[in-house]
Symmetry: D3
Subunit: 147 residues, 6 copies
Amino acid sequence: MGNGQMNDIGRLAALVVLTDEETARGIAPHLSEYEVVTGRVGSMELKKVIASVETAAKRGSLIDGDVYRETHALYHAIIEAAEGVTRGKLSVGEIMRTVGLSFSVVRGRPYEDEREGEWLAVCFYGTIGAPIKGKEHETLGLGINHI
Amino acid sequence: MGNGQMNDIGRLAALVVLTDEETARGIAPHLSEYEVVTGRVGSMELKKVIASVETAAKRGSLIDGDVYRETHALYHAIIEAAEGVTRGKLSVGEIMRTVGLSFSVVRGRPYEDEREGEWLAVCFYGTIGAPIKGKEHETLGLGINHI
Amino acid sequence: MGNGQMNDIGRLAALVVLTDEETARGIAPHLSEYEVVTGRVGSMELKKVIASVETAAKRGSLIDGDVYRETHALYHAIIEAAEGVTRGKLSVGEIMRTVGLSFSVVRGRPYEDEREGEWLAVCFYGTIGAPIKGKEHETLGLGINHI
Amino acid sequence: MGNGQMNDIGRLAALVVLTDEETARGIAPHLSEYEVVTGRVGSMELKKVIASVETAAKRGSLIDGDVYRETHALYHAIIEAAEGVTRGKLSVGEIMRTVGLSFSVVRGRPYEDEREGEWLAVCFYGTIGAPIKGKEHETLGLGINHI
Amino acid sequence: MGNGQMNDIGRLAALVVLTDEETARGIAPHLSEYEVVTGRVGSMELKKVIASVETAAKRGSLIDGDVYRETHALYHAIIEAAEGVTRGKLSVGEIMRTVGLSFSVVRGRPYEDEREGEWLAVCFYGTIGAPIKGKEHETLGLGINHI
Amino acid sequence: MGNGQMNDIGRLAALVVLTDEETARGIAPHLSEYEVVTGRVGSMELKKVIASVETAAKRGSLIDGDVYRETHALYHAIIEAAEGVTRGKLSVGEIMRTVGLSFSVVRGRPYEDEREGEWLAVCFYGTIGAPIKGKEHETLGLGINHI
């Protein structure tokens, strides 16, 4: 993996938020079958960040909002990506921080074996810091789950 | 930030591990003044992962190993990146997981204001999973600190 | 322990929330000397869950609310049970989850040795999930403390 | 839920470890279609606990060990159950504790809607404490995941 | 260190909150070159605690509020001290607790080697407990960072 | 509290490790009825730190090692103090750190009301850092529990 040709659903999710979908697909043309949804959210409340990703994924038909199984898979992928963003303390405003994030959600079949089925990748990239412009630095997080 | 021209020391660190240094510098030519060190490590022990990054950064003269201040700044950036990799439980082998990671360390001045001085970014990308080939998925983590 | 005849104050607490007090006492007739208080609470705020258990325990005279020692013992038993419910992130609404829980508090002497004195068990059982009916799964948590 | 007739895959998993499979199925006869695997493990190493559950689930054909998707689902359910056992610190021997646990793994379809598919519940019940007989108290943990 | 003559910026920070600045400087006269700012804060919200320390440090000219580097160094020192205060769960009101704290911030050069530059120590001492007078016990936390 | 005359069992525990027992008792003469045990431990393994405090407390007859209730109360006070030392990640060697610590354990009746009974305070003070002399900074932690 890493630079390999397979299984890099997470790499595509990360490249999309670090550059843009066109550049990302140019770097990784073999990933053309993955579906991608993107969005942006800024907040001091983690629940708003979570809700933004869930809403984007449902509106973009990336997950079926009627099926709890899909919501459950996405929720845990979002939380795992948020752990990377918050680095050890799953809190934002409660500890006087704010985030401004781009996000991507990617759905597809990263494994050759058919039985592995579909997986989701969620990636955040943006800033975290004091609630004052410029008093912030970059942050990144990736979550992966089977669906 | 995000896709901005400034302050994206973390973006360079991430692009380096997700593609390679040449591709990363091609996407972000304005970042040519940043110094970059890269490496790879696979282990069930987090301390070996930490030690590999520290050794690479010292050998590559990215930090001055004689000054605790620089070691301290790098250590906390590594730990923050490792939080993204391990997503909420800063453990690998203790909970029956193994990691195979590429890493980058980037040093430079991401802020226009001279007083902000130098900062470090550490990024990991690779796989985490059961200690069996193929029973794994991707993982990513970024840490940023002032030096 | 486990299926033993002694020291299973936690087992009684769990059986009470998983079935009901009568069934639980039928399964474990040797535990008849333990005092039991039960209740229900649904919330997106962990502090309301904590307060519900504290209020029920005081109203049911299971603990003496005037003595900090007893409040302190109960508080830590509740928090430990809540760790099981929230599994690694002691948050509910902040990360866009809601809980609907039955709880029990049991007080008694689980050890043969008189010097071991009284202990408390707190158990929660119910659902955790998205704040939408049906988008949830079961959750369980047990906390034990000396009083 | 709670005492409801549906969706109580976790309740069955808990009743099995708190009593035994026969008693548990007697309390919850409507759950007869769920598959159940049980076992016991005592250790100061969490990885041995995880490995014991994985081995029992594979040997009992509860999951297909060749498919990473199933291993991944089980792994996260085990970790969530272990969070309940360790209550806030996912460590055993590292912080001078030992565990003696019975466990159950249950697989089935807890939702009426066919699209929700199969889910897993993992439950631990036993003791945690100092590595000296009798210097311990009860502990319980439940994890649930879609498969 | 420990009782040594050097590097005890944290010891001074702790003695100031446990006694008062005059007593602390009497115990540690060799630390006369360190700058000290003190304050008090009581709250159920951690963000108010963080903001109080930041405001006191800026008003007392201990850090330069215009430079993010200094804000970033102070923020992480505060968070580390708050980990000691909250002991494993970086939350106060969310889990039904309140704090009443004295704090100190100390800035100086704790290492002989000039290259080590300036460091910060933040110390909290006071009470944590139920939001009822007397239903509380002491708490203490120290954070250290390079600036 | 804070600088008050009562309830400062934790303050005494902290002053003992930050200065020495004689100095501490001189600052707080009203605390003469508390029993104090002290010791030192250096390790990369948290379990050795825990064991050192437990052994010192038993040898010094501060707790009765035959009674689990007392071991349980001390264990949780040690873990809470260790949370302050490790600040958010209850690990030492696993994340490439080492500690060199002085510790104190204090037992007594910090509340006027007789019913509050006896409490324990555990305090650590020393260094944490890379396993290289001088590449370290100070650390402090306090835990309090009823016994």
